[in-house]
């Protein structure tokens, strides 16, 4: 397909081009416009769809949309009830938002790799990376928000002293304080990093393979991209699900008083 255009740069150039975000600004203050744009659009799509369903929600026989939305709600609610044994007005909606939003991000992966960049190219944009989850900024934004909530709830439930005690006196008792602290810090910091990198890695690799398939001759592409896309339907759902479940698990751990 587009491989001819990038013939001069070769296959590497094609891949790099596809994975370069459309950005403005310098240094830290760089903004990835494509990530921001697509995640915002998908977020609005999610909000709009669910809001319409919520407004039309009846206690009687639900319509198709409502049944679908309720299925999602019950699914998330069940996950929360299975893991989290308290009452929180935040955790279930947070889980739903993460699940649907991340799923929609990942779903962008299923668009043929050249279509949206080609459209953007026609509009004069040189780079276009459409899958927000292939941007570390997007995945870290989620996981760091979750991390902030973990810290917030740990302090709120256990108190500053209680949280400090948990950080310093477990798992080996007060005599091993520095070692405990080190262990706990690693444990806590590993949470957002593993959340973000797991999602990013899976989707980045998936997108990369789609790009590699797009480099092959046209008559081989369907043979490879079709099964890979079907397999990816599983991956994108699974990754969204894992992100949601781990968020719920981490937050319920933060609520538990030892």
């Amino acid at each position: 397909m587009a491989s001819e255009e990038h013939a001069a740069e070769g296959a590497t150039g094609y891949i790099v081009h596809h994975l370069t975000p459309l950005s403005v600004g310098e240094g830290f203050w760089t903004l990835h416009l494509d990530t921001l744009f697509f995640s915002a659009v998908l977020g609005v799509l999610f909000i709009w769809f669910f809001k319409v369903a919520a407004e039309k929600a009846t206690v009687g026989v639900p319509g198709t949309t409502q049944a679908f939305v309720e299925m999602m709600i019950e699914f998330v609610d069940q996950q929360v009830k299975d893991t989290f044994h308290g009452r929180s007005a935040l955790i279930a909606p947070l889980g739903l938002t993460i699940f649907v939003w991340v799923f929609l991000w990942n779903f962008m992966d299923l668009f043929p790799v050249d279509i949206l960049p080609a459209v953007a190219g026609m509009m004069g944009m040189e780079y276009m990376r459409v899958v927000p989850s292939t941007d570390l900024n997007a995945t870290f934004a989620l996981s760091i928000s979750v991390f902030i909530l973990i810290i917030f709830y740990s302090i709120k439930i256990k108190g500053v002293l209680g949280f400090a005690k948990e950080l310093t006196c477990t798992p080996f008792g007060p005599w091993m304080m520095p070692f405990n602290l080190l262990l706990k810090l690693v444990e806590e910091i590993a949470k957002p990093i593993s959340l973000a990198l797991r999602l990013f890695g899976n989707l980045y690799a998936g997108e990369l393979i789609f790009i590699l398939i797009a480099l092959l001759p046209w008559y081989i592409q369907p043979l490879l991209s079709f099964p890979w896309a079907i397999f990816h339907i599983l991956i994108i759902t699974l990754q969204a699900f894992i992100f949601m479940v781990l968020t719920i698990v981490y937050l319920s751990m933060a609520h538990e008083d030892h």
Binding site: A57, P132, N137
Partner: protein, 159 residues
Amino acid sequence: MSINATLIGQMITFTLLVWFTMKYIWPPLIGAIEERKAKIAEGLAAAEKGQEDMERAAKKAANVLREAKQQSADIVNLAQKRANEIVEESKGTAKQEGARMIEAAQAQIEQEMQRAQEQMRKEVSALALKAAGQILQQEIDKAKHKELLGKVSEQLGQV
């Protein structure tokens, strides 16, 4: 692949989305679900109760029916018995009546017979007197033989 201000933008978007979901999406939907669950549970309970009621009613109806059958059988028996009694009674009455009527008829017959005998005796005695009178026209003095005549007529009356 650098971390930059996009992160902050994404966090803001995420916060807004979570806030919106928490405020406007989750509560009405989960509310509808819970309410429907309650309604369904209620409906199922009501259905079960209705079925129980129906079973109870059917049992009751069967009992009533059985009782009614029993009662009607009793009534029929009683009526039959009563009818038999009435028949017997009227048979008895009729017999008695018949006997009485026969008796009355016999009494009447007797009476009639006596009256006829009386009549006949009188007529015979008169006839005898007349005949004797004619035969004995001259010799018999009515006054002289009055006693004898009376005796004869009495004897005739005893026949």
